[in-house]
């Protein structure tokens, strides 16, 4: 599933074998290198940084353009630059799934991706789940079952569970408890909503079936 040609924060660390992030990096995502105006002198074509460079992608169905530094994570770009704060920052290192978004339909920890990784791709955050202000069945079931307390893990939970429902959409039968539990294994919740999250997703899947 991972696009190996794209930069990921984890891959970058692995590649350079140290936690020192390089000042400039090459973006090799197909079809994007040419249209990137960089403000930094003496860069080879396709290189960006360290100053902000133009990034274009689709966010919740709308085309967005924003200038971000190569070191900025997708999570920070969403929250700081695009004021899309429904996606939460909790651990900032891939341990809790609070920052889960869908990139081209696949759930990813946005804290573990660099913003420039999503050049030309589509990103869906929790704000993009509802259709024109109408909550999805899953969102409604979360509310009905009280699958949220403080609500800080909720966006990530919803993204993981939406992805599960999407993955299994064609099946026509309800999900099992184990399937839901598996889907949210990486989503930490400190308030203890797991039982109600599971009930909500099962209910949503029944409605679908």
């Amino acid at each position: 599933m991972a696009d190996r040609s794209a930069l990921t924060r984890r891959g970058l660390f692995r590649g350079i074998g140290s936690a020192t992030v390089v000042a400039s990096c090459t973006r090799t995502h197909p079809g994007t290198a040419t249209n990137t105006p960089s403000t930094d002198a003496a860069l080879s074509p396709g290189e960006i940084g360290p100053s902000p460079s133009r990034l274009s992608f689709e966010l919740n169905g709308k085309a967005v353009q924003v200038d971000v530094e190569p070191r900025t994570t997708l999570l920070d770009a969403l929250r700081v630059d695009l004021d899309t704060t429904g996606t939460k920052k909790v651990c900032d290192r891939g341990a809790c799934s609070a920052c889960t978004v869908l990139v081209d339909g696949v759930q990813r920890n946005s804290c573990m991706m660099l913003a420039h990784d999503v050049e030309g791709r589509t990103v869906t955050t929790v704000e993009g789940l509802a259709d024109d202000g109408h909550l999805t069945v899953l969102q409604r079931k979360f509310v009905e079952h009280d699958a949220l307390q403080c609500g800080f893990c909720t966006s990530g939970m919803l993204m993981s569970c939406s992805a599960l429902l999407q993955r299994t959409a064609g099946r026509g039968s309800a999900l099992s408890k184990e399937e839901v539990q598996d889907a949210i294994k990486g989503n930490l919740c400190r308030c203890g909503t797991y039982p109600h999250v599971i009930a909500a997703v099962l209910d949503a899947s029944k409605e679908r079936a």
Binding site: E69, R71, T72, D76, R79, V80, D83, T84, T85, G86, T87, K88, K89, V90, C91, D92, R93, G94, A95, C96, A98, T125, V126, E127, L129, A130, L135, Q139, F142, V143, E144, D146, L148, Q149, C150, G151, F152, C153, T154, S155, L158, V180, Q181, D182, I184, K185, G186, N187, L188, C189, R190, C191, G192, T193, Y194, P195, H196, V197, I198
Partner: protein, 775 residues
């Protein structure tokens, strides 16, 4: 004051008592009250905002021109600051200011202490600048190991007086004597004479250890500060106590409290660590406001996860020597000697399970001490002291029961006096199928099966700490037909605004969606902190009084419209108001309100009842709870799985069965996590936490969670006019204890250290050598 008769009690144990109601107090909703909205399982009202990502938490506040701060923290556990060089940090692009928080010569007492702070245009720049601040230290001797810190050879952690942090709503054991070295005794809890009780009795004595647990709220501590002018400060704070943030900032910056405005619209958890403008181990609020003043721009300062783990509080650990003695089924003596470390802070007591649950025992001594270490300060955490005390004592009790040859429930029933808890033990044993399950675990144990099962039970004790006068609530009937309730309380995640709306809907017999609740803002009337499980019990009675008063005024207005006496106005459930043949709808009557609204403001008097049993002799009810737990243990790998927890709890009159159940689930899951997974791991050689994150500091996930069955026992206490009591803390007290008892049942051997990791389970079975202790 007139006497009013009310019905108190629970289940079929209801009786009439007469209470003296303070002036202006609404008659309590007692056992006879038939309520339509209060108590029902109503989904929280901000649910839609939270599931659509539109709820703005402190972390989400983005103000125009806002700058981002970061704190430079000491990597050393004990040192003297020799010099701070900010020049390199200042040169980093986007950096607006770099300030020293510790001055030359200041002492550093733990790894993670504030030393300097930076502020920049973007968060990445701030982090980069924080790394570029060069601090030179002179290292000092330090101690992070609890047992060593308590010895005379250990380096002294505090050289001067110790500043004591008290958390609102948490009754701490308090200082009981002079410090000796790093050790500072807490006030002992004592009755009778333990040595007498030991004579001729069967005695069990053992040492129990618990770990340091961190709060790990998902939203880290943080604050956004904006100066509106030199005299006015507005902040958004991730806090459990809006008004303590206000007062602290007012004091630090010498402002009038009313000139400091605090917003907490949504809060990503707290669990006891988020009182005040600063975190227990970091002056976040002061730093943010200082940087905002210096730069003339709003400043956001949020902890990262590492900081959250090391300097924002924790549950202290403990080493407890428990002695318990009995004859037949009668407990004759209980003695607990305990030490624990709250790092550089205080508060390592062990709660009240040993002292105040099994009250038929005539001789009890609980003696505990704080031991200072060079680690981040402990602070109140969901039922401070209690889970650790409950674990040690309830497991010791089961070990004694084995020696006495009695069933653990029988022993508890014979020594507890709380009528609700007694009912919970008996009823729970039936629901849980206790006898059959214990027989099955015995069969597996004796057959030396690889996969064993076991069950255990433990008690919860808490007090109804509802506070008088603290919450001031305004209720207005508006011309558009809605009813508005205002109070500056914050929602830590329990759903308190929903409960307040339910009270309004009940009093006015109006649809829930016509009740507006405004909260989370210091300008909406003073309120309590969300701690001590006191919010619902402190705020709902004030809401009810305000609503009843506004309703009375509204009826006067209606009477005037109908040309009748207020006493003759009748109020139908559909909102029709009639008197002497004339009638008017609620909406019509509202439209005719002169001015904007009919408004009343009220508070809550002191608690005036304590049925069915007082809390440690205090004029407040004792909240009862019992949890049953079932585990499965793989004796080859040592892995314990929590299978099932039956949580039976009293929280007075249940206000909302849905959100209340959520809270109990949360208590059980936190307790399971504490029992099986979580622990702060210190590197005692360098004095730093080794797992300051969420990948190696393990918290309970969905797959680790047991099946949870919640039974809420409505208890009519006559303590306040809504009958609400707390549930947040009581629901986490007995979980780890019940699980430990269940593991003992499964193995026939106790695991006397938390968390019950595979290596400790295998050691208990004698399969591997015992891992080294905390000391």
């Amino acid at each position: 004051m007139a006497k009013t008769e009310i019905k108190v009690g629970f289940g079929d144990q209801v009786k009439a008592v007469s209470v003296e109601l303070p002036k202006g107090e609404a008659k309590p909703w007692d056992a006879d009250a038939q309520l339509e909205v209060v108590g029902k399982p109503i989904p929280r009202r901000d649910g839609a905002l939270k599931v659509s990502g539109r709820a703005k938490y402190t972390y989400d506040v983005n103000l125009p021109g806002m700058l981002y701060a970061a704190v430079v923290r000491s990597p050393l556990p004990a040192a003297k600051v020799v010099s701070v060089d900010t020049s390199a940090a200042e040169k980093i692009a986007g950096v607006k200011a770099v300030v020293q928080v510790a001055e030359k010569g200041d002492a550093v007492l733990f790894a993670g202490q504030d030393v300097a702070a930076v502020v920049a245009e973007r968060p990445e720049q701030a982090w980069q600048a924080a790394r570029a601040v060069k601090v030179e230290y002179e290292q000092r001797r330090f101690v992070t190991r609890l047992a060593f810190a308590a010895t005379p050879d250990a380096p002294l952690v505090h050289r001067g007086a110790v500043e004591e942090r008290r958390t609102e709503g948490h009754v701490t054991e308090g200082g009981g004597g002079d410090a000796q070295g790093n050790k500072r005794p807490l006030r002992p809890m004592k009755k009778g004479d333990v040595s007498k009780g030991l004579k001729g009795a069967t005695v069990h004595e053992a040492v129990y250890e618990t770990q340091v647990q961190t709060h790990s709220a998902l939203e880290t501590h943080g604050i956004v500060a904006r100066w509106d002018d030199d005299e006015h400060l507005t902040v958004w704070a991730s806090t459990q106590s809006i008004f303590s943030v206000r007062d602290e900032l007012a004091e630090v910056f010498d402002l009038k409290p009313t000139n400091v405005r605090v917003h907490t619209d949504y809060l990503g958890g707290g669990f006891g660590a988020k009182f005040g403008a600063s975190a227990p181990g970091s002056r976040l609020g002061t730093i943010a406001a200082r940087l905002a003043k210096q730069t003339g721009a709003p400043v956001k300062l949020m902890c990262d996860r590492h900081e959250e783990q090391v300097c924002t509080g924790n549950r202290p650990d403990s080493i407890q020597t428990v002695k318990v003695a009995g004859k037949g089924t009668a407990l004759t003596a209980i003695e607990v000697q305990s030490i624990g470390t709250a790092g550089i802070g205080t508060g390592a007591g062990v709660g009240r399970n040993a002292f105040a649950v099994y009250t038929k025992c005539p001789n009890i001594l609980v003696d505990s001490s704080d031991v200072f270490t060079n680690a981040g300060p402990g602070t109140a955490m969901r039922a401070p002291g209690h889970p650790q005390g409950a674990f040690a004592f309830e497991l010791a009790l089961d070990e004694l029961a084995t020696k006495l040859g009695v069933d653990p429930i029988e022993l508890r029933l014979a020594n507890d006096e709380h009528p609700v808890r007694l009912w919970q033990f008996e009823e729970g044993a039936k629901r849980f199928d206790w006898k059959a399950k214990r027989a099955e675990s015995k069969r597996l144990r004796e057959g030396k099966a690889r996969i064993r099962r076991g069950c255990g039970v433990a008690a919860s004790i808490w007090g109804d700490f509802g506070r008088p006068k603290a919450a001031v609530v305004t209720c207005s009937v508006l011309r558009d037909g809605s009813v508005e309730i205002r109070n500056g309380v914050q929602d830590i995640g329990t759903g308190i605004p929903t409960v307040l709306a339910q009270i309004g809907a009940e009093v006015f017999t109006r649809p829930l969606d016509t009740i507006i609740v405004r909260y989370g803002d210091s300008e909406l009337g003073s309120s309590v902190g969300s701690g001590g499980s006191q919010t619902t019990s402190s705020v709902t009675p004030a809401v009810r009084n305000a609503c009843e008063d506004a309703k009375e005024k509204f009826i006067e207005h209606v009477a005037e419209l109908l040309g009748a006496k207020p006493a003759d106005v009748s109020w139908a459930n559909d909102g029709t108001l009639s008197a002497g043949g004339a009638s008017i709808t609620f909406a019509q009557a509202c439209k005719k309100i002169p001015g904007e609204s009919i408004t009343a403001t009220a508070d809550r008097p002191a608690t005036y009842g304590n049925h069915p049993m007082p809390f440690l002799g205090a004029p407040m009810p004792q909240i009862a709870g019992v949890q049953f737990a079932e585990v499965e243990v793989d004796t080859w790998t040592g892995v314990v799985r929590a299978k099932h927890v039956l949580a039976m709890h009293d929280c007075g009159r249940v206000m909302n069965r849905l959100t209340c159940t959520s809270q109990v689930n949360g208590g059980v899951i936190l307790g399971t996590s504490y029992a099986l997974m979580e622990q702060r791991v210190m590197d005692h050689d360098v004095g730093r936490m080794l797992n300051p994150n969420l990948e190696s500091y393990k918290i309970c996930g969905a797959a680790d969670t047991p099946e949870i069955e919640v039974v809420l026992t409505d208890v009519y206490t006559g303590a306040n006019n809504t009958g609400a009591a707390g549930i947040g803390e009581p629901s986490t007290i007995p979980t780890a204890a019940a699980l430990a008892c269940a593991v003992f049942d499964a193995l026939g051997e106790p695991v006397r250290r938390l968390p019950m990791t595979p290596s400790r389970v295998l050691a208990a079975l004698g399969a591997v050598p015992a891992p080294k202790g905390l000391g």
